[in-house]
C-alpha cells in the first residue's frame, strides 16, 4: 500500500468539499486510476471539467505510477491574471 496526499483547488475543492485528502492506495496505482476515483467521489460534479495532473507540484502530461508520499493535484482550468 502507498499513501498519497491530494491537494484540492477551485472546482475540485468545491465538488469534494475539502482542501486536502490523504488516501491509502494499492501499490501500482496510476494517476489515471486515481483521477477516476476522484471523479467518482465527486458524484458527477466534475464530469464536464477537464483536469490536468500535477505530481509533486509538476505537471505530468502522461499517466505515471504513484509512489508512497506523493503529492497529487487534479488541476481544473486555471484562471490567473
Amino acid at each position: 500500500m502507498i499513501k498519497v496526499t491530494i491537494k484540492c483547488f477551485s472546482q475540485v475543492k468545491y465538488a469534494l468539499g475539502t482542501n486536502e485528502l490523504i488516501l491509502e492506495l494499492d501499490s501500482g496505482t496510476t494517476t489515471s486510476k486515481l483521477e477516476q476515483l476522484v471523479r467518482e467521489m465527486a458524484e458527477g460534479k466534475l464530469d464536464d471539467i477537464s483536469l490536468r495532473v500535477a505530481v509533486n507540484q509538476k505537471y505530468v502530461p502522461n499517466e505515471v505510477e504513484l509512489q508512497d508520499g506523493d503529492e497529487v493535484a487534479f488541476i481544473p482550468p486555471v484562471q490567473g491574471g
Partner: protein, 138 residues
C-alpha cells in the same frame, strides 16, 4: 532578469526607473477585477493558488519569456486572496530596446500565464456567497 512575486494583499507597483539607458520601451500591464464575472455581478474575486507550484511555474514562465523574446527584464506580481472590484490583481512590467518585442512578449506571457499557472478565481457575489468562477479562456 526576472522578478516574480505572489502577494497576499495590495500590490505595490514597481517603481519608475530612469536609469535604463538602453531600454527604449517600458510596457506595463495592470489586470483589474471587473464588476461582472461571467455575467454575474460581483463585489470581489478571491484568488486561490497552488502554493509553491504557482510561484515556481510563474518564475519559469517569466524566464522562458526572456529567452523567447529579445527583452531585457520582466517583473511580475500576482495577487492572492480577496481583491475588490477595481483593484489590480496582476502587474507586469517588461523592458526592451524597442516596443515591438515588448508588446509581443507581454502578449505571450499573459496568454501562457492564463493557460498554466495554478491560480484560480472565486467569485464573491453581492449576497456574500463564494463560488468558483467558471472556467474562462479570454
Amino acid at each position: 532578469m526576472v522578478t516574480v512575486e505572489i502577494v497576499n494583499g495590495p500590490i505595490s507597483f514597481f517603481s519608475n526607473d530612469d536609469s535604463r539607458e538602453q531600454n527604449g520601451a517600458e510596457l506595463i500591464f495592470n489586470g483589474r477585477v471587473r464588476a461582472t464575472e461571467h455575467g454575474k455581478n460581483i463585489t470581489a474575486l478571491e484568488y486561490e493558488q497552488y502554493e509553491g507550484m504557482a510561484e515556481v511555474e510563474l518564475t519559469q514562465l517569466a524566464k522562458a519569456t526572456c529567452e523567447k523574446f529579445p527583452i531585457h527584464d520582466l517583473y511580475c506580481k500576482h495577487r492572492i486572496g480577496r481583491v475588490v472590484v477595481g483593484e489590480t490583481s496582476l502587474h507586469v512590467v517588461i523592458w526592451s530596446k524597442h516596443r515591438k518585442e515588448g508588446l509581443d512578449a507581454m502578449t505571450w506571457f499573459i496568454t501562457e500565464l492564463k493557460k498554466r499557472i495554478p491560480i484560480w478565481k472565486w467569485a464573491i457575489l453581492e449576497d456574500g456567497s463564494k463560488i468558483p468562477s467558471e472556467c474562462s479562456h479570454e
